[in-house]
Symmetry: D2
Subunit: 320 residues, 4 copies
């Protein structure tokens, strides 16, 4: 049986049970340590938010604490680029699972500087290059932030400048990726520009509540606020969900599809955004990561939520 | 808007329009030529069948002509293995997209003989090894065929022995894969046994009508005949759909997810099986292939059908 | 200063000192254990033999005990193939270092079934295929053995049939390589034929004395017995020495060139054949291997011998 | 028969014949075109110089015209680093053939930022990092230039600043390599410093006469000027010759060893430095390259010179 997102009471009970379980879980993974700003976050946190397509937002745990959304921001920059430039972006980035870790440079060499998909680092840097072309990094960053404000209906959302600066100081591997693609002519601006944009959008901070709200359009056929005042095209929504399903968790994407059965995108800040098309947008967060770079408890929360609610794109109830 | 699978009239019109378009399409791809039995099939064929979860079967074009289902058979052997051995099979085969062509041996070396997923050749040979362990190839082949008879409710379905023999004579690359995995101890029977099983189940011949009927359980939450007399477990169904979504078309799986948005599995005989969970099982067939080994017209038919019906797991209508 | 190979007394003292050191060395590596026939050899052995271009043979330690020459046999099959077929063999096998382990299949896939060089397993199987074409494996094996008899002037040299049978029973990775090349049409006989030849020539047993004698032509400009009665062409000699230098120790070839400075070929039976052009042929043997598959003590013996004698192709004394 | 380097008359005739043949050769390859300064060099040039260990320098063709020595400079920076830091440098760079093109980043990823050898770009950038550590790029460049002045006994040798600037502007792939190694902590200075050094030493301009003179120590057991006033250690000389033999021509190193049989190092300016240990240092130059990035005519000149003189480390005359 599938639980309706409008069955608020039952759903809230499920969320609370999950948050409860996670608060005492002993297997919590390891907090990302490559920059101090991420390493210093306490691994005790767990938050969960569900924003139904129609119905009120439900939360449990630390759903109002800000965290670094990191790679989840790639969903929003891809949406922005698709809305601005349409399908021409696919000339410069693919949409196949890579089968490799998020920052691999091997495939980039074999495939002449065209990244496999927009969710691995190289692909997201190409998207950043599209967004920065013909303007300054500051302008592009401002546009991305403003786009996120619109999606989340919250102009308070900002960038953690300490995180951005730290990434800039330590992100040599991303410099390598960008320089390599510049050599292959798939980066068009000075290498520092898309990197500047990339490091900043990865440093956007949101709470679970804000993140699930921002992702609502992916569950709601593109209707951003639920009142048809702002729309992302349906074609864009379908395609982003598809890329999230096949590529959203690097070389663990198959595992998430297998265990959870929903389009999702993880970030090494410990967040995961997941989409139940037609039903709800979901955000979970806990800082500790597994070896593939996904949050241990946020992954587990999605698995338990999917099991308890029956939400899965692979096992829809009869609806015809 | 999403079309209901019970709106038979509208749906039949869509199928007929697609079959009509395909019959005159000039870009038809190239028929697989590695064995004479496949090379001799006329590239003029196109067939399409839709088996709704509840409702009558609809067909158009050459939907009753037999073709070699080839790799689509891997869906059925995986189901059989999962039903028999449960999740222990995942110790011997992964469930991540490979990012490589169907018969690549590179990843197999890097990952010590454990194939990335059960739909690349190496993975399907491991599944065949599971099914043949402790018995003769003939017994395992008979069991697989009998399982397909049950799924399709048609005991006429058989193996094209000429195709099986030809594959056996020319399948050196599959021998290489199996020998390599034997060296890594991930094939347990004599190398010839799983290969014998594999070559035979790939040579099963079905029509679009039979294939879509056989795949019905994947759309119907495991209910094989629609009358609850025979069930595949729901967990199995969800997981097979997930693996079809992320790995069903080798290194073009992302493309199918992106363009069509449904779990699917292609075979180099030109067939594609696609699933709309809760709605219908679909089979399309046309022998000409693209460079990735998928049928040009069957792929296109799925794309047009998805567009015309709104069927996609990534853009469900409100249903809560 | 370079020691002359005719300074017998000084040279014998050097050999004895080396053999003495090796007899008590504690770091001896691990005996190959993939077949029982190799695993059962005692790791206490160490033998060394030097056959000067002109002058008497010098030995020390276990230089008359038979061991399995394994991959060193590839030097002799390559010589035989070059003498029979000339440079046409380079259409089917390259002569570049592979940068990969001896039995890697990765490069073979990327380069469409043409092995990088004749000393990795795949390349040696291609050479075996050349030698077996148009005849039975038994005939090809007999020809190789007879060729070795001629080189070593010793018709007693034979094949350890237990080793050959064991390799045949367990050599699945070599079956994989051969099947893969068959699929790419770079094996022309039935796959079992070159493998049969390969498994048998790798099972040839020689002592250090016999092996250094058999390799003498590579030091002596092709003059097999030192009396001009039997000649290998100078072009062949130069080229085999070159391939030994760049490819003789798999992915540790650079290391041997760097430390020893002589063309050499190792085998996992623990033997190494080394050549000082114009001076001497050298064989060392000790069963324990390092992680790259080369004998720990035989490698060390070559390094110490090179240091003590000044023998190196990279630091010749003034001679013009 | 081997020709003595003191048989000046015979040797001069050989050089003249080779220069003559090359002047009219129609198959001349393509001049490197990635920077205008290299692309504008006429492909008509051919120069050859032989500097014997004892005896007068012989030249033919355009042996006094300056060209960009490019990667040949890596021989001199490696020598300088070895003399300064000894064998500790091998902790940061290997000495195995790479089996890959000169600027490949694949292997670097698989082997965690430690380049295979000091002659691929990544390895040379590590050597530059060693030389620049604790000082400014200008100081390191001055030291390298001064070292070359000493080797060639010619303080006129300089850097083509236009070439250096062009490389800096376009060398994104080298930036990628350096950034990648910085991420793996195998570059210790700010990424721009070793790159600055690297781009400048690759832009050193020499004539064939100067280059062969500068390489003389590699043939003369480390005796730089032939009068024992300046010495490179013998261990260093042997080892550099070994690395030149196995790694001097990227993924065509085996080919040069096979065809020529001498340690050598090529540059994409069209130059090749080759060493006959104990006999002579040789430089050849012609701007047109083959697909592997080696000069077509300089390679051919070495092959013909080796054939005419008998010079090869793999086929020494009897000398004991």
């Amino acid at each position: 049986m599938m639980i309706s997102s409008r069955d608020t009471k039952k759903l809230q009970a499920i969320l609370d049970r999950i948050a409860d379980t996670m608060s005492t879980a002993s297997e919590r993974g390891r907090v990302a340590n490559y920059i101090p700003e991420l390493a210093n976050v306490s691994n005790d946190h767990f938050g969960l938010a569900v924003v139904p397509v129609d119905g009120e937002t439900l939360i449990s745990g630390d759903a109002d604490i800000l965290f670094s959304i990191q790679s989840i921001s790639k969903v929003f920059t891809l949406t922005l680029a698709l809305e601005k430039y349409g399908s021409t972006i696919w000339d410069r980035v693919g949409r196949e699972p890579s089968g490799d870790p998020f920052n691999s440079i091997v495939q980039l060499e074999l495939e002449h500087g065209v990244p496999r998909n927009p969710f691995i680092n190289a692909g997201a840097i190409v998207v950043a290059d599209l967004l920065v072309e013909g303007r300054s990094p500051q302008q592009a960053i401002a546009e991305i932030l403003s786009f996120c404000h619109g999606l989340a209906a919250d102009a308070e959302i900002g960038i953690d400048q300490d995180v951005a600066r730290s990434e800039e100081r330590t992100g040599f591997r991303n410099v390598a990726l960008a320089s390599f693609m510049r050599a292959e002519d798939n980066i068009r601006s000075p290498v520092g520009h898309p990197l500047d944009v990339y490091f900043h959008h990865c440093a956007i901070a949101m709470s679970c509540r804000q993140l699930a709200t921002a992702g609502r359009y992916l569950a709601a056929s593109g209707d951003v606020h639920g009142d048809a005042t702002k729309r992302i095209s349906m074609a864009c929504v379908r395609r982003i969900n598809a890329v999230m399903m096949t590529c959203g968790h690097y070389d663990a994407s198959g595992e998430f599809a297998f265990r959870v059965g929903l389009p999702g995108k993880s970030g090494i800040g410990g967040g995961i955004l997941g989409i139940v098309p037609g039903v709800a947008s979901i955000a979970a967060w806990s800082p500790g990561l597994n070896v593939k770079g996904s949050s241990v408890l946020a992954s587990r929360a999605f698995e338990e939520l999917a099991k308890a609610t029956g939400w899965s794109v692979f096992a829809a109830p009869r609806r015809s």
